[in-house]
Symmetry: C2
């Protein structure tokens, strides 16, 4: 590819456009984690980042596309912080424990200023059918499937007793979500309660 | 009290004012169950109900006071639909089962168009300190205390084995909340999963 002349200029513009898109989408995630995705508007993002509203408009077009970009950016950041590190440890109970501990770190640190992006946005959009809800639902289902898959692997390897993997994944996700909300309101002990529930579910595991 | 003359007129106005406040607050609950409490504004409520913005302003003053009135109205409606019927059955396991079944009916019916008011608003306000969050947190703590109290009663009466009542209440609340979100997105089986978790916690109960 040419790095000079017309094609170079186009590449450069695309690159800058891509970088701007990422910066804006990442800020949209932070806003949504505190105020929900409804707080993510083209005008609001432009003001926060000191760029022109027209510029944000050109990059994203509509509020819904901006919200969808925020969901994608959150998914990527969540993957890097929670899923990827756990994928480096052996499957089954060890990976489940890693997923839960990285998840807890993800809300305690927190990665996003308002805590868990999914807790904030799923409860916000669960009654609003559309592309944003579908994207949130897909991400949530992938997370449940990941937990259920590792639970099945743990049972297959006889690390834990046979159990209903969908039910156990539902429970783990439910207590983590509840712990996040409690933590945001200052009740830090809820995190320990979530840990105890997970330990109970993995009770038959070798320690 | 006089029913005619000046005092009577004042009473009548107060009564009408109180009735209007209730109507507006109850509609605010419905809006918040779908869009969150941020969607509850004086202008929005006035438009929806076909009344003047000035009238709503006179009755509530600020958006925050309107949001607090919505929390109170939701608390009252929740009490009537979920708590009051359960208080009519014997304490312990029977009352716990009644609380859970009435709660499920409350989101399945649903009492509010967006499902559980608390799920929608707690996740929305957990990162926003202030009077609204305090009111939501108080209501949530009362609900957890009610569950924990009945669990303690069930253990005292030897209906169930000794257990950590705070932890079990946290779990019951967490799975009900998760079931509500799943139900809003069309996953009806989550309600059965919540029931299974509760049945597991009350497992030692006489059937």
């Amino acid at each position: 590819m040419s790095t000079t002349g017309e094609a170079g200029t186009t590449d450069g513009r695309l690159l800058r456009g891509d970088r701007s898109r990422r910066t804006i989408a990442r800020h949209a995630v932070d806003v949504a984690s505190i105020e929900g995705l409804e707080g993510v508007s083209i005008g609001r993002l432009a003001t926060d980042l000191g760029v022109s509203k027209g510029g944000v408009q050109t990059l994203f077009g509509t509020k819904e596309r901006l919200q969808l970009a925020a969901v994608s950016a959150a998914r990527e950041a969540f993957h890097d912080a929670v899923v990827a590190p756990a994928l480096r440890v052996p499957r089954g109970v060890a990976r489940l424990r890693a997923l839960v501990e990285h998840w807890i770190r993800y809300v305690e640190a927190p990665l996003f200023p308002g805590g868990c992006f999914w807790t904030a946005t799923l409860a916000e959009f669960d009654s609003r059918p559309g592309a944003v809800r579908d994207a949130l639902r897909g991400q949530h289902q992938d997370w449940l499937d990941l937990l259920a898959g590792e639970l099945a692997e743990a049972a297959r390897a006889r690390e834990i007793s046979e159990l209903d993997t969908q039910l156990a994944a539902f429970q783990i996700d439910a207590v983590l979500t509840a712990a996040n909300v409690a933590l945001r309101m200052g009740d830090a002990e809820a995190v320990d309660m979530a840990r105890q529930v997970v330990a109970g579910l993995l009770g038959a595991a070798s320690r």
